[in-house]
Amino acid sequence: MDSELLVRLILLLPLFGAVVNGLGPLFVEQMRTREGWIGTLGTAVVVVPFALTAYLFATFDGTPVVVDFFTWMEAGDLSLQFSYLVDELSLIMTLVVTGVGGVIHLYSTGYMHGDSGYWRFFAYLNLFIFAMLNLVLANNLPVLFLGWEGVGLCSYLLIGFWYTDLSNSAAANKAFIVNRIGDFAFLMAMFLLFSQLGSLDFDVLLAEGPQLSQDVLNWTVLLLFIGATGKSAQIPLFVWLPDAMAGPTPVSALIHAATMVTSGLYLLARMSELVLAAEIVMAVIAIVGALTAIMAATIAITQNDIKKVLAYSTVSQLGYMFMAAGVGAFFVSIFHVLTHAFFKGCLFLGSGSVIHSMEHVEHELEAEGHDVSDFDPQDMRTMGGLQQYMPSTGWTYFIATLAISGIPLLAGFFSKDEILFKAFEYGFVGGANYAWFVWGVGVITAALTAFYMARSYYLTFLGEPRWPDADTVHAHESSASMTIPLWILAGGSAVTGYLGLPAVIADGKLNWIHHYLGADYGGPVAEPSLAGHVPLALEWGLIGLSSGIAVGVFLYARSAYLATGVAFDETLSARFGGLYQTWSDTYYWDDFYDNVVVDSLINGLARRGLAPFDGRVVDGIVNGVAGAAQVGSGLLRRLQTGVVQNYALALVLGVVLVIGLMVFGG
């Protein structure tokens, strides 16, 4: 098959789905309840592109394919095409997007069943896939940016999906605006590149970019990175992601875990040649990533909302990915993106399944006459013992938990270990001091990850049910359309790690993902490491260390939470004191933004400052001029006394003036 046609189909099918699902029911009310049609179409337009991508992937011969649709805009030096690029990186990303996306679409047909906005949901979701595909397939920065903003839009629409609750909409606004702050930097990076190179096409940028002056490069990469922090929820722009959990759970899985949030990584990987040329900024990237990772991990420990835990976990894992990027190991980032997509997708979907079932519990409690106004179906403190009611969800959640915790032989183990190893190696071989710091933080974070994930699993699924009347009111397993995707993803969480076996095995020759992506995304240190730059023994040791930590911490948490349940949190709180408080208050980031940035900008500057200023000063001057004319008029008219002799006096004064001017002035 013609690959151009395939690319067109891959891109346009989801768009088609979005348009049909969106417009039809919008105008024809009867169509809104046709869930079968809508769900089938919505899923098909993602699954088919997945199949097509798989075909492309299978037949890909290593030479990048460029597909030009049509000219977007031409002005001066700028010549911009709707141009798409199929290469290794975009293929992997496309597979993830359509694959995980397809699964989540399928899941959604069950999860959203009965929702009045079913059609909207699928329209948005399809639109999201379209935008995401634009992002990953773009062949120039503006098209990438189109997708970039497009996914932001869909994220906005989906976070605020249940708009009748204003807090959801507020979260949506927050997500969009914080993302826009990142976009600002992205735009500036584009302007800078264009002003230097006169083009924004990848081939030009990657070929000529590295020759730019160091200053320009540093700025460019820094700006790109700031752009990435917005989308990929890094310090300081991560604050929107936890709030984004307000959206339906499949959204959290797809957008806020598997795909969209990784686009920042994708951007850096795409621009890897520029990034690698900006050494200083790489340090910034790595350090910011490390700090984000550990910060989010500590916060995750304190969260009680099952989705919030996963959200902070996502932030933390994204931090990992940036650590990798910061040490130049882009392929590892992508690898982690891949594995993360599976296990985090699985976790989110599992939490969705749990929430679904807890909502069911809530309804039953309500039916029995309980006061459910305080009942939160997402609060882990009211859960417990769900494993017995919903085995599929439980098991898949468990597998994914193990995977993310870095328990050996599951996907997370391989990718995370590779990241830690690369950081170590960068310090060991490359001699960059910051790499040690990054590595250290990474190891601690790995321990924390194992802890909070174990906490999450055990609080939710084991122990006694903690909701009222647990004897009579039972939770239920979700439908097949939801459990099948769970199993698919759990399977992925188990096996995808083998795509990137570490260098200790067969000298890295079995590290498929590294070979597939090629040296382009490996960085200067990574390339020779195939042959083993670090002594094998040391590497084995490192692997052992991280495995040990993961398993150890996991088991510790298991025993702690199995024994004391929720109460262990209080022990933790007591042990860490103020630190724990800081964690549970998310390091006061939200307070800072709400009270300092937003309040001072909106309330202080805009509402109390500029708006009155505009009315009183700027407009006041205008009205003042008019008023002055009126006042002047009022004063002048008092000269018009009505007494004829005064008029005569004025006349004579005029005479004096005129004679004076004429005789003596001229």
Binding site: Q645, N646, L649, V652, V656, I659, G660, V663
Partner: protein, 164 residues
């Protein structure tokens, strides 16, 4: 002769200015007009001098007096205090006088009757003026006639008592 008449004219004018009774003012003005008529005669402008007495002093001033009597006007009560407008008026009046004197008195010390006494007398003569009036100034005379007619009609319109 000139200085006598001039002094008298100025004195009469000042008298008009300062008297509070309108009748007295009118009579001072009549005196002034007579003096000026005399000055015309010193300038050999006999025709104008005669007209001055006939029309101005004779007709116009009588009209004034007539109206004053008709309306039975007496002196207006004196103003208690001096207003700034009056001060200003006085100052402006002085400035005007200064300006006028400056322009008229400077550099024009040519004697009257530069050509000859005969010409001067002829220029002021009624015959010459009459001829001019009915040739070169015929149009103006006609329009002046209309002006007087209009003034008459207007005065009647304004002052007459209508039957309504």
């Amino acid at each position: 002769m000139f200085f006598l008449l001039a002094t008298l004219a100025v004195a009469a004018a000042v008298g008009m200015l300062v008297s509070r009774s309108p009748v007295a003012s009118a009579l001072w003005l009549v005196l002034n007009l007579f003096c000026v008529a005399g000055l015309y005669l010193t300038l050999n402008a006999s025709f104008i001098g005669v007209i001055q007495i006939l029309v101005y002093a004779g007709a116009i001033m009588v009209l004034f007096l007539f109206v004053i009597m008709l309306l039975n006007l007496s002196a207006l009560p004196q103003l208690e205090d001096i207003q700034w407008t009056q001060v200003a008026a006085f100052a402006v009046g002085v400035v005007i006088l200064a300006q006028l004197l400056y322009v008229t008195a400077l550099g024009l010390d040519v004697p009257i009757e530069p050509v000859s006494a005969e010409t001067a007398a002829e220029v002021g003569d009624a015959r010459l003026l009459g001829k001019e009036l009915f040739t070169r100034y015929a149009l103006h005379v006609e329009v002046a006639a209309i002006l007087l007619l209009a003034a008459t009609v207007g005065a009647v319109m304004l002052a007459q008592r209508r039957f309504d």
